[in-house]
Amino acid sequence: MKRQDFEEAALPHLSDLYRTATRLLADSTKADDVVQDVYLQAWKSFDRFEVGTNCRAWLYKILFHVVHHHRRKWFNVRMVKDSEEILDQVAVSSDPILEHLTDEEILCALDRVPHDFRAVVLLVDVDEFSYKEASAILNVPIGTVMSRLSRGRKLLREQLAETAQSYGIGKGKLEGRTA
């Protein structure tokens, strides 16, 4: 395989990978290192990549592998158990008024969602991977993707609501909501 083939297949996904890495690590400098590492690792194993298959998903799988190793080095990682259940009790939090929140505030709220839930939210909601693809990228069952997505979205909503309320926005908007 030529480097040119690799660059043509892999570099169009550079921006998406960088943005996702930045949010996974909540640090653009670390994301920069990680993304370069991802491309070097991908290039080294490009002979094993099947042309015509999903290059983007393949790169994301490498990204999560690299992030996992970097996080073990940088942080004390608290692992999330896979037994997150969708509760019958549905938490109803104040609905943040998103129009009043800046991108920066939304990203800060996202960064406060625990890593494993944030990872699924990023893969499914931002990068638009299917449950099956996210499951393959993260090497977890589809049920775990679903439960982490549900929990991650709830946690994100809570964080957004907290941010909104700290500015006095949207206070009590959903109070009284029942099914």
Binding site: W43, A91, I106, L107, V121, D125, S130, T178, A179
Partner: protein, 296 residues
């Protein structure tokens, strides 16, 4: 936050599907079931709408993040370096394999070898060795330019948002600040200046501008001559408006040079000999004129 107990209420069943419904991951029948419920349940419909809006807003916030302008160039440079290293390793391994065959034939034990690693950003010693190897085939006067290009442009972390042209010009100091607009006006439109500063390497001072076209890095490196230094012994590539331009290739790098009575100037890149020389030709007359006027 309040908790609403759904129990066996139909909403409880539907709410379990909401995330998959938003992601279009439901079977057709289940999807229809959710749709029918949403038509009659304002609370669940509001819930779907709220989650959909949060999804869309978080997606746009992530996608609005800016990307470092030179990220692609740096990734390409890292890939090129790795390719060269792998290529050297392959050649070396082939030679080693041949020796192994002979050694096995002679019943001689062969020591293990390891793949040479690329230097890390913090590994200054490794970088110096890398630069020495990369510039080994060049004449001493051209090594100066390539050395600073690799040292300062390749082994570097660039800021996420490069400073403005005015800020960079100020950083160069009053003697050299006019170089920034001068260079900007003479390189092809797709090239952006991402670094302009004065730096040092191997005991010399440099005026250094780094440019990128999005996929490659190019340096204009200027340093004062030391006693006896000259490019005149090199083969001239061409004379442009009376300025002699020289060029040589070392590994994947091309180094074009020109000089005044006081300065050595280099255009260094991995764009390929032709393209590097074209940019050197475009810059040489005006940069030469600029340097000829710098006396102090």
């Amino acid at each position: 936050m309040r908790l609403v107990q759904f129990g066996d209420h139909p909403c409880a069943r539907i709410r379990r599907y909401v995330d998959s419904y938003i992601n279009n991951e439901l079977l057709v029948e289940t999807n229809h079931e959710v749709l029918r419920h949403l038509e009659t349940c304002p609370a669940c419909a509001a819930e779907v709408e709220s989650r959909t809006r949060i999804k869309a807003r978080s997606k746009s916030a992530v996608q609005n993040q800016s990307i470092p302008e030179d990220l692609e160039a740096r990734v390409r440079a890292a890939l090129r370096q790795d390719s060269r290293s792998s290529f050297a390793w392959t050649r070396w391994a082939s030679a080693a394999a041949a020796i192994l065959v002979v050694a096995v034939g002679l019943w001689v034990e062969v020591p293990r070898w390891t793949r040479p690693a690329l230097p890390e950003l913090a590994d200054r010693r490794g970088q110096d060795v890398f630069i020495q190897k990369a510039s080994a085939s060049l004449s001493a006067v051209l090594k100066v330019g390539l050395g600073d290009h690799i040292h300062c442009s390749i082994f570097r972390k660039y800021p996420k948002d490069p400073p403005s042209v005015d800020e960079m010009a100020q950083k160069l100091g009053p003697a050299y600040q006019d170089l920034v607009p001068l260079v900007k006006a003479r390189v092809p439109e797709e090239y952006r200046i991402i670094l302009a500063h004065q730096c040092g390497y191997q005991g010399r001072r440099f005026v250094h501008l780094t440019l990128t076209n999005g996929s490659s890095l190019l340096s204009l490196v200027i340093t004062r001559k030391q006693p006896g230094e000259s490019m005149q012994a090199l083969t001239v590539s061409d004379h442009v408006s009376g300025v002699s331009v020289y060029q040589a290739t070392a590994q994947n790098y091309d180094v074009a040079g020109f000089e005044t009575d006081l300065f050595l100037a280099y255009v260094v890149s991995d764009l390929g000999a032709r393209q590097n020389l074209q940019i050197a030709y475009a810059l040489a007359p005006s940069v030469h004129q600029f340097l000829a006027a710098v006396r102090s």
